[in-house]
């Protein structure tokens, strides 16, 4: 196998040349003949009764083709929610309707009221300003706890309250956990906020709808992480278009981070309007619209208690969270604070009793859903912060306290319904102490002090559940979809291979790393393998990319399909060499008969499959193409240990990240260069959450942080170079590649690392600060230092 193109090689990405030369094909680069443009009129109030929408002036404006309002969608389905959570009393969650265009009320700033389709983008925008909506203002609910008070204004009039669900997990443990906490030798308690974030993929969302009267087929080009999911949700639940008459294409997509998983109103609108007008209809979000319409992330308010015995062993954890759903249930919103959060509350530790309570709340804000990590960062943040606080209260070393409580024997059944298959948390911690240069900390601290700066070090462990997910399990937990993945491996006559995968790449480099896997299995150069994705017309039904699932689930499907191809190719090779199939070996692209010098090349066999002149036609069909669907047996459990050193300027409260080290156990690694890049990006997003980013609504529900002038995105000079390592590898035991997934780790592990480091710096500087809520802006840090 050529060292530079198989599994384990840091192959350069084949995607790069098109992106580096401006020849990528993003959705906004697609322009269809006869294309019209839509501009959405969005609510500028957070809560109000929509009594009328006067579109007459807009309709008379130049270039306007039609103005749509909620009335046009009265007979059309609403946007569906893909996950039903059952509450602690056995009742289903409250599930409100989510119309494509507002019907009777507006429920957040940015809620679409009307849509103008015109010949040009400017004409559509100009005409939207001439629409006159009559909105009777209603008091808005923004704060979650206020939203649950008796008599609070209701976001949805037809629901009992603003409580979506009150979830308990594991409910049977509720009393036992309470008792363990009451009788513990020590209990550490912490209240904290996991700040609301906006994913902010650099490419704003875009949708282009098209319709052919000749074939009756609709096509949607959209910036999605999972085009098949959009086809299913939009076709079956919103517009009533069967899959064979609906094609969804997600070409090059400029980042997702979760925000492009969900089915959005604009996608349904463009598909609907293209048919209604018999014209392609295009929408390109402005960044301001992205802030007002992309599902946002996090926004948990939590109280966590950690109980320890007299020997500092963890005995129980109880956590109570209010989770903001926003104004509507986005596609997977209910699953994030529940099954993606509660099941990770054991972390890397042996804690026999755990109880998680989550109240999900409707407010007059933009819907909240999965954002890189989705539930797992929220679990990790509270657990790792409370452990750090406990170590300080007990006067023990925070690393020693963690090591003492690590899970060390696998498989390990947690008390929160998941079973870790493999891991070695001491190994990643050992590696961390090495690459983070713990020995040099004292000297660096002295240097900082000499400059008048406070230096602190924070450490953190994390575990996450990736490779989402076993369909039968998630079905029991309320998922309304399966979470397998698919692949077709099409071998061409002259030996080149085209793989159609249901996974979607929007920055992850699948075209490179997936090709490495297939090439490695056959022993050919990766240049002979092409990866296609993103078009429902030529890829098998797949579930797309999120939850660090692509290589673990999509890669496994591809391996299964390639195994079928190889098995068939061996039959052909056996026929060609007049040997027994059992004696055929495949190595370096050559089929040979064991114990002989007979061999045929890969290309000879593939040619025979398509030119079957000398072929076992009575045993097998011609051709060489196989499809596999892979449904994982378990989640995968990447884990690791992170360390951060910060300098805090006591005069200003400004925090500077001086060093950051990450050791991750991702199991086997296909392309180390790509894996490191995924970690870097996750770290930057987590550091952004810890220090910079915050989504701020005022009391009336106005989004104050709706541009890059107000929402502090991490920039190059906010970041250090990172030291990352993924040499500690305990392969996953239940997928064929032994891989675990690496996309979200950095964003999960880094926020508590940073906060732990800042608290450490302040404590070492003599300030009795035990917690500061993120983002740790200079103002917040300075105020905390003033007591």
């Amino acid at each position: 196998m050529p060292k530079d193109s198989g599994i384990g090689a840091s192959s350069k990405r084949r995607e790069d040349v098109r992106f580096l030369t401006g020849t990528g094909n993003y959705t906004d680069d697609i322009n269809l003949n006869g294309q019209a443009y839509v501009h959405f009129l969005r609510s500028d109030v957070a809560h109000g009764r929509l009594t009328s929408v006067d579109t007459s002036a807009a309709e008379a404006m130049p270039g306007v083709l039609r103005v749509f309002t909620g009335a046009d969608f009265a007979q059309v389905g609403g946007l569906p929610c893909g996950w039903q959570v059952t509450d602690r009393h056995g009742q289903p969650m409250q599930e409100p309707a989510h119309p494509v265009l507002a019907q009777d009320k507006v429920r957040h700033v940015g809620d679409p009221i009307a849509a103008v389709v015109a010949e040009t983008r400017e004409q559509a925008r100009d005409a939207a300003e001439a629409i006159v909506p009559e909105i009777e203002d209603l008091p808005a609910v923004v704060d979650m706890k206020a939203a649950l008070e008796e008599g609070a204004p209701k976001v949805h009039d037809d629901l009992d309250s603003n409580l979506c669900y009150d979830w308990g997990f594991v409910e049977e443990n509720r009393d036992a956990v309470a008792e363990a906490i009451e009788t513990a030798a020590h209990v550490t308690r912490l209240e904290l906020v996991n700040n609301r974030l906006v994913a902010n993929a650099m490419e704003p969302r875009v949708a282009v709808g098209d319709y052919s009267r000749a074939t009756g087929e609709s096509t949607l080009y959209t910036t999605s992480q999972n085009p098949h999911v959009i086809r299913l949700l939009m076709g079956a639940f919103v517009l009533g278009i069967p899959e064979h008459k609906l094609r969804v294409v997600s070409p090059d997509v400029g980042g997702g981070f979760g925000s492009k998983i969900f089915h959005y109103a604009e996608e349904a609108f463009c598909t609907f309007a293209a048919k209604a007008l018999n014209r392609p209809v295009k929408w390109t979000a402005t960044r301001a619209e992205a802030f007002l319409s992309d599902a946002q992330g996090r926004d948990h308010v939590t109280t966590i208690e950690l109980a320890l015995d007299a020997d500092n062993n963890f005995t129980a954890i109880r956590t109570e969270t209010h989770a903001n759903m926003g104004a509507y249930l986005s596609t997977f919103a209910p699953s994030v604070p529940t099954w993606l959060h509660g099941t990770l509350m054991a972390g890397n530790y042996r804690t026999p009793l755990i109880y998680v309570n989550v109240k999900a709340v409707f407010t007059n804000t933009v819907p909240v859903d999965a954002y890189r990590g989705a539930g797992r960062p929220e679990a990790t943040y509270q657990l790792e912060r409370v452990i750090d606080k406990a170590a300080r209260e007990l006067g023990v070393d925070p690393i020693a306290l963690r090591r003492q409580n690590f899970v060390t024997e696998f498989p390990y059944e947690t008390p929160v319904a998941v079973a870790y298959d493999t891991g070695d948390y001491n190994a990643t911690m050992d590696k961390l102490e090495e690459i983070a240069d713990f020995d040099g900390f004292a000297a660096r601290r002295a240097e900082s002090e000499a400059k008048g700066l406070l230096r602190g070090r924070g450490v953190n462990c994390y575990i996450e559940a990736c490779g989402i997910a076993p369909s039968n399990l998630v079905g029991q937990l309320g998922a309304r979809a399966g979470l397998y993945e698919s692949a077709t491996v099409r071998v061409n006559a002259t030996g080149g291979i085209t793989v159609m995968t249901g996974s979607h790449s929007h920055g992850q480099g699948h075209e490179t790393s997936f090709a490495q896997v297939v090439a490695d299995m056959i022993g050919i150069d990766a240049d002979m393998v092409e990866i296609e994705h993103g078009d429902t017309a030529n890829t098998p039904m797949g579930m797309g990319t999120y939850g660090s699932r692509s290589i673990a689930v999509g890669g496994s499907a591809m391996v299964r399909a390639a195994e079928k191809v190889i098995a068939k190719a061996k039959k052909i090779a056996a026929h060609l060499m007049e040997a027994s199939e059992d004696d055929i070996e495949l190595k370096d692209g050559q089929f040979s008969v064991a114990g002989t010098d007979k061999s045929v090349a890969w290309g000879d066999v593939t040619l025979a499959a398509y030119v079957p002149h000398n072929y076992p036609l009575d045993e097998i069909e011609p051709g060489l193409e196989e499809t596999a669907f892979y449904d994982p047996a378990n989640f995968t459990y990447p884990a690791g240990a992170y360390a951060c050193e910060v300098e805090v300027d006591p005069e200003t409260g400004k925090v500077t990240i001086d060093r950051f080290a990450a050791t991750d156990d991702f199991g086997n690694v296909i392309n180390p260069m790509i894996v490191s890049g995924q970690v870097h990006g996750g770290l930057a997003q987590g550091i952004g959450q810890a220090l910079l980013e915050n989504t701020v609504y005022d009391e009336s529900g106005q989004l104050l942080s709706a541009s890059y002038m107000d929402y502090a995105m991490p920039r190059a000079d906010d970041m250090p170079f990172f030291a990352v390592d993924h040499s500690c590898q305990t392969p996953c035991t239940h997928n064929p590649l032994g891989v675990k997934g690496c996309g979200e780790a950095g964003a999960i592990g880094s926020p508590p690392t940073v906060v732990n480091a800042v608290v450490d710096a302040l404590q070492r500087g003599g300030h009795d600060v035990t917690h500061i809520d993120m983002p740790l802006t200079p103002a917040r840090v300075w105020q905390a230092m003033q007591g």
Binding site: R18, P204, M709, F721
Partner: protein, 161 residues
């Protein structure tokens, strides 16, 4: 509507534009040069950086009419005619300085402008110069590394792949 004429990537280009048409809209919509991207509406993200008369400019901050008679270079004009990448484009590939690719054209055009002005910038100078370019994928690690490498500096000591 007024007519504008300029030289784009060495070739004459002209078209009718509204007074409010931005240079980036003219490049993308009129000329079909879709390599220049729009990532925000407040001139913060830098996805639209092009060179106008040798100066790096956010093409969303300039009207098309203001570029009358100018020499404009976009990401499409950076590589050699035979497809050989510019050294900074090659360094971005060699050092994995891009993931989703959306900010990449602006990053590369900004990086080229920096290296024109400062052939061997320090890490701090690079990070400072990239202040107006946002990347959400890479954490900037490999972008900074790629620019250092393209300037001939030894990056082998910088951690990780």
């Amino acid at each position: 509507m007024p007519q504008v004429s300029m030289t784009v990537n060495g070739k004459p280009a002209s078209g009718e534009v509204e007074g409010r048409t931005l240079l980036v809209e003219f490049l993308r919509e009129n000329l079909g040069l879709t390599g220049t991207h729009v990532g925000c509406d407040t001139s913060q993200c830098g996805a639209c950086v092009v060179h106008v008369d040798g100066q790096d400019v956010k093409a969303c901050t300039m009207f098309a009419a203001e570029a009358e008679g100018a020499e404009v270079t976009t990401i499409e004009g950076l590589a050699e005619a035979d497809g050989t990448l510019h050294p900074l484009q090659q360094a971005f590939q060699d050092h994995h300085g891009l993931q989703c690719g959306f900010c990449t054209p602006g990053m590369v055009m900004t990086g080229v402008a920096l290296l024109d002005r400062n052939p061997t910038p320090s890490e701090a100078e690079i990070r400072d110069y990239l202040e107006g370019n946002i990347c959400r994928c890479t954490g900037y690690h490999n972008i900074v590394k790629a620019i250092m490498a393209a300037s001939g500096q030894d990056v082998s000591k910088i951690a990780a792949e």
